[in-house]
Amino acid sequence: MFYREAGDFKTSYRDDNQTFPIRLDRMGYYILMFVAFLVVPFFINDYWVNAVFVPFLIYAIAALGLNILTGYAGQVSLGTGGFMAVGAYACYKLMTGFPEVSIVIHILLAGGITAVVGVAFGLPSLRIKGFYLAVATLAAQFFLVWLFNKVPWFYNYSASGQITAPERSVFGVMVTGPNTEAWAKYMICLVFVVALAWVARNLTRGMMGRKWMGIRDMDIAAEIIGVNPLMAKMSAFAVSSFFVGIAGALFFSVYLGAAEASEAFGINKSFLILFMVIIGGLGSIFGSFAGAAFMVLMPVFLKNVLVGGLGWPTDLAAHFEFMIVGGLIVLFLIVEPHGLAQLWRLTKEKLRLWPFPH
């Protein structure tokens, strides 16, 4: 009844192009931003930050990145974990090499370095498609993790083979290292997420996004109307890897604090993020967030219910958690193969007509 576009007239193409064309959506977005920036930081504690908010935000960035590559440009990638490792190690080397430079710049540069590596590993996509490309990116995953374990220069010859984030601050507030306050971790991730989601939205609604989707939907037709397939695919790999690299840098420096390539950025990460994108919805910005939320929140929620609510032993609950999450993924894919984003879209369609659907 309230959710509809009737009476909300658009008088310019600019208004017609906006991200949230329906007034209620717009309001919801502003309220969400207000709560995220001005309410949550004051009530947040260590448990919520480390278990829910920070992993959700960081995985959302990685899922956005993979969604640009797989959902928009149609290039399957199983190398996400490897590219996150590139971001993490690049960030580590920059942080230790240039301690006087701001961490924000280091994180952005780490994204840039990952973009270059991503383009290099994306080159086979010009020749191979689908499953074969997935296998090629799988090679990137294993090669990169092997490289970071094998060459001591990457972890500054530390005895443990780990990389550890030194303490760094932004505007005088500590954001990395063991003494970081919960709200600071949350805020730096939130700022990156909001900025990158905005960039992703801008790129996908404009000509870049159309080129990517053209390559995804029918590459020959796209080439004949003027899309350079080399540029379109490489830009998708570059932008996607930039996002994933930033996610990796944040994951290491802000969330983990210390990391080891094969543990933190193994093949499991690649699959986890691929699941987020598929469950959330391919080719949807909202879907990336929904998928990340689902995969991060579901285990936490189940753990709280099983251990906290029903009083089960922790190990039993942990195994059941795997089974239930796996079952839910299968169920979701059967019920709605286009992901949570499609469910959300259908709900909105229904709401628009409610309560008079005729």
Partner: protein
């Protein structure tokens, strides 16, 4: 449309008052082989500015191959393609598109996951110059360009009468409308030469009439040069200024519809001829 004027002149005026200009595309001695199969044998013809040029012929005559040569998708083994007065070097199809060629396909090649509007906007991609960083920021050049090009697309949408499906995903549309959206995408590029590969295939009489009207109006209002392949003889003879007839990869006729209609080789190719 009969023509009595001297066609070797640089430009002339047709019976219905349209001005036909000089040669836009000149194909010289094109030969295309796939292994041992010769798809096109030594064909030459030209397309003039502002005209509607039809390529006809029985199945397997090499018409679509010819169109693919023009749009750069196939590279002929022999022969030269001259476009707007200069010889075209070997090019990838996207480079040919940048020169101002647009085309539609026999079996629709739209982007199913995108809306009608987005599909038509892709036709504008050679006219949009904002780089990836400007697009990432959106405000400024990218947005201005988007709106300016949207206006052009809206004109095309108006012209082809598809306002009501602007935001519908293309995958949900019926066949006839998809054909029209594909034409809109090609037209949005404001091409100097538009290639239509069987624009009326699989349409009923009413849809064919609509499509014929669009083709004529396009040519008349925007002055678009059109080369088309079509099987419906009635349509071809009514629409086109000049017709090329192909059979087994060879050119067997070239001229105004009337000339072609009375050409003995053409009649033989279509009706068959007794071999003794």
């Amino acid at each position: 449309m009969t023509m009595t004027t001297d066609m070797s002149a640089d430009s002339y005026v047709t019976a219905d008052g349209r001005t036909i200009g000089g040669v836009v595309m000149d194909l010289k001695n094109i030969t295309l082989r796939f292994g041992g199969v010769v798809a096109i044998k030594d064909i030459s013809f030209d397309i003039r500015e502002g005209e509607i040029r039809a390529i006809i012929g029985p199945n397997g005559a090499g018409k679509s191959s010819m169109l693919n040569v023009i749009s750069g998708f196939y590279k002929p083994q022999e022969g030269e393609v001259w476009f707007r007065g200069s010889k075209r070097p070997p090019m990838r199809p996207y480079q040919v598109a940048r020169q101002g060629l647009a085309r539609t396909f026999q079996n629709i090649a739209l982007f199913d996951g995108m809306s009608v509007l987005d599909n038509i906007m892709t036709g504008r991609l050679n006219h949009m110059k904002a780089n990836i960083f400007q697009q990432a920021i959106w405000k400024g050049k990218a947005e201005r360009e988007e709106i300016a090009n949207r206006e052009i697309c809206e004109k095309v949408i108006d012209f082809l009468e598809i306002q009501h499906i602007r935001k519908t995903p293309v995958g949900r549309l019926p066949y006839g409308l998809k054909k029209r959206v594909e034409l809109a995408r090609a037209l949005a590029a404001q091409p100097s030469l538009l290639l239509l590969d069987e624009p009326m295939a699989g349409m009923n009489v009413e849809e064919k009439e609509d499509m014929s009207r669009f083709i004529l109006d396009m040519n008349d209002e925007f002055g678009t040069t059109i080369a088309l392949i079509e099987h419906d003889m009635g349509v071809v003879m009514d629409l086109s200024d000049r017709v090329v007839v192909m059979d087994y990869g060879k050119k067997i006729g070239d001229g105004t519809p009337d000339e072609v209609r009375n050409n003995q080789d053409v009649i033989d190719a279509y009706l068959g001829v007794a071999h003794d």
